[in-house]
Subunit: 399 residues, 3 copies
């Protein structure tokens, strides 16, 4: 790595770090005021806990010497670094935190804080890096088969999405979310501006997420990566908007922002390879998929507060397949097949493992807050702090 | 372009991108809660829509082959890029979105969302790039005359400001803003902290806006550009504050933040050329001009919710003239004359064209929300979402 | 300086700039709504005023020719810069603003705005740069003795912390903070999400604060600096959390965020020298120290609204000593002694000088708002603007 690359990855490290704030505000805004401290704390602690766990354990599993192709086996708790190793460690720590934090929004408003922290640590330390060792470790078995995922549509986002799916299946929906007749009751978040802030910050961070994933300035065109990332996000927002407008439904800001996130997820696997036109198409479909996916899950009574499974899980699948569907050279069925394989393997690894871990956690610690606590709000019951003491006191008095 | 320049412009691309969030929060905070989702959506969609339009259309008009000096004529919907071309495209997309989004704050709280999107697209796709082709295209007729606008006091900010002026003239003021006797009634925004957040983010982004506009590290002194940018912003805030204090008026935070924005606008044209002392003077006067300009417009019953015309339009004029007023070499009347010409031409192009387009939009789509909708708030009537459901429900119940 | 270094310091300049927004929101969130505009304005003006004062006066005192080792004596109001000088000036301006703004949170909710601005200017222009000239000027007497403070645990943070301590001692506590029996009454801030936002932004900026302090890419390992910074922040949050949990107390988000800030302060002096394991230990202890220090001050009836003295003052001391306690080579008592000396000298300089200046300000201008104004809230009494007009009107009507 040249000094210039180290500086660039350093910049991108800070940008990906800031995505944690993006998730925190996107999710806190989508939660009710009474649960917003809980959401913020989960994101903050994902970062604190995840940073140390991935440094000590996850990095070695993912990038350590990988003889079998199935798992890294050294570089745990590393103390000495070359310049290139150190910056890679810092950058990858931020990626791992991103994968883990995808779960926090899905399970918002009803999960115990302590159990969440344990689950988040397991995702960062085991679920994410093991799949990563198959795909982003040079000796990984999927990598060797030619699986391509530039910056992690599958490796980071789908894996996080499937962990979130497992979690909400075990956890069950929030009180009052679904009626006995199967109707979905809308539970609006407490601050749309925070949803918007989260969207802007995530988008900002994504330039580092995709931009920092280039191998070298000669191998990849950095400007194209940034341009495609942006166009994918733009098209994702437009796709969600157009889908709602075409169905004569209200054009919701929350769905538009999440549509752009889905667009960004979708463009992540191919940001360095696609043409701008393909990037727009990929992002646009990603945005539509988001709105569609949220409804599909709601039909199954799967309550995902921010639509994380849809944006990251489904968007990630689509983006990963799109790399083979819009190839730089001639279309190849075998390339598409490897992409399909990678996508399916991600699900087959992350979903059952996360499901099992979550079940065990439920037995050992209990994952779901009591109905009484859920009604009162987790901020009070788990943290003894409320988000807006002056304003909430008044609401409570009125209630 | 060297790899280092590409990296630096890449960094600046992300910073200028984030200015969109700055505008969004500066404006949303200055609007009432009932219109804040609408404001955020406008800024978000400026970015989504503008990104694709400028990539497909605006960039070619602005930077394409310009034989006549009056318009670019190729590079539309580009698919292939060299490293330098790609990063320039990404960077310039962010600039175009900035120009368009200046309008959103001025027209807040009373304009239809759909009509706004069309207008924003026309600014990004036509009004902004055409003037840009005269000044920032190497073959532009104003460029060839020696017009100097380093990072766009006129090219971006004044053009955006004049579009905003045209829009608010056609649109008319908010209900209750001016009494029959010509008194100005204060309509406070709903969140001063958001105004502050917007100011901080805009300032942050401005380092990329000005810093990324250097031609090379040899030709311009990057440190001086960043330093002048900062000092201009500092002095703008102080200028607004000092002006209010000198008149024994309340020293408003909203005006101080916008004063610093006006200072940043003012220093944009000459950030690479001025001495630090001149940068302070230019910013200081810019900040005073802002407060003064807002009052001037209010006397004309021109209702600009955030003072965008004043900050960007007037500030841009002053900053562009300042390049010739504080020259690096001896003062030259002909240089000043070219600056005056560029400033006047910007107005003569942007204002009537925007005015005409807005009038046509009014005929075809209708631009102004009904009084009933304005009273109810655009968030509910245009988006079916409110910003703070829990808190606003209570306010409504009390009202 | 190479062009690459200039670009990197340019990036870091923007990151450290943004820390001002981090402080603003951390502090505004920790204040009641009725004082939040005042807090934001203080931070905004620290930046505006401090930028110009440090350019004109402070920089020369700190980095000018230093014959005696006790004070810089030239480079005041500089107009001409080499590329390296200009970027250093821009970067150092942001550092100075950071030192000054540490005070603003401690004195929140009860201090006159005008007097604050004068004090802030004196910290930026005199208190901070004089100590800086002893340590970061190549000829400074402490520098020559071998005092090591990589990015300013003592030079920036402790000095700011001791100024804050002096200020709150003169100022006295907020109304109702301490009962006659010595009980501490909790005065919760108005927005926990803003506290979280501030924490995220500060952490982001810290990568520039520590990262930009490397001398060259050959001398320091940038990746290690960023990694240690992150691990220190992670461990600080965990330390505060673990300390509260171990005492069976509520695990407060406000304390956790401030614990991570204390961890970041602690790792600042040694970010380039420590091993990752040492960084974690240093941050962890810093986080514990924060919670502990806040209680210690409260026992003395010293009312520090955000715990700035604890996070920056105590955290800075610990971090500076840690450089010698976890040495790269063999442990040396003389190295530890020099670190102790630097820490003690920082206190002996900053505390009495700040105390004296504050006392003089109190005589001349008066520093404390009247009880009536304190009850009404400084936003109304000092700025004639409130943070959330629509929501606060309702609270007032109810009160």
């Amino acid at each position: 790595m040249t000094e210039l690359q180290i500086v660039w990855v350093g910049v991108c490290t800070t940008l990906v770090f800031f995505m944690q704030a993006g998730f925190a505000f996107l999710e806190a805004g989508a939660a009710r005021a009474k649960n917003s401290v809980n959401v913020l704390m989960k994101n903050y602690m994902d970062m604190c806990l995840g940073g140390i766990i991935f440094w000590g354990l996850g990095y070695g599993l993912m990038f350590g010497s990988n003889v079998t192709g199935w798992i890294g086996s050294n570089q745990f708790f590393p103390q000495q670094f070359s310049a290139a190793e150190a910056i890679k460690m810092a950058y990858q720590i931020m990626f791992a935190a991103t994968a883990a934090t995808i779960v926090s929004g899905a399970v918002a408003e009803r999960m115990h804080f302590g159990a969440y922290l344990v689950f988040s640590g397991l995702v960062t330390g085991i679920v994410y890096p093991v799949y990563g060792s198959w795909t982003w470790n040079a000796n990984g078995w999927l990598a060797k088969m030619g699986f391509v995922d530039f910056a992690g549509s599958t490796v980071v986002h789908s894996v996080g999405g499937w962990c979130a799916l497992a979690a909400i299946m075990v956890l069950g929906p929030r009180l009052g979310r679904y009626s006995r007749q199967g109707e979905v009751r809308d539970i609006p978040g407490h601050s749309l501006p925070f949803v918007g802030l989260g969207g802007f910050i995530l988008w900002l961070g994504w330039f580092g997420f995709n931009g920092g994933s280039i191998n070298s300035f000669a191998e990849h065109n950095l400007g194209v990566v940034l341009l495609n990332t942006h166009l994918g996000g733009c098209a994702g927002g437009l796709g969600a908007l157009a889908f709602m407008a075409a169905r004569k439904e209200p054009v919701l800001m929350s769905a538009t922002v999440n549509g752009s996130v889905a667009g960004l997820v979708s463009i992540t696997a191919g940001a360095a390879y696609l043409s701008p036109l393909a990037a727009i198409l990929v992002g646009f479909v990603g945005g539509i998929l988001y709105v569609f996916g949220v409804r599909l899950l709601d039909k199954q009574r799967l309550d995902d507060v921010v639509g994380a499974v849809s944006a990251h899980g489904f968007g990630g699948v689509w983006g990963t397949l799109a790399v083979a569907l819009f190839p730089q050279g001639p279309f190849s069925f075998s390339a598409l097949w490897v992409q399909v394989l990678g996508v399916v393997v991600a699900f087959l690894w992350a979903f059952p493992v996360a499901f099992g871990l979550f079940k065990v956690l439920d037995k050992v610690l209990g994952v779901k807050a009591s109905s009484l606590h859920e009604q009162r709000g987790l901020d009070y019951t788990e943290h003894y702090e409320v988000a807006y003491p002056e304003f909430q006191k008044r609401l409570d008095a009125d209630a």
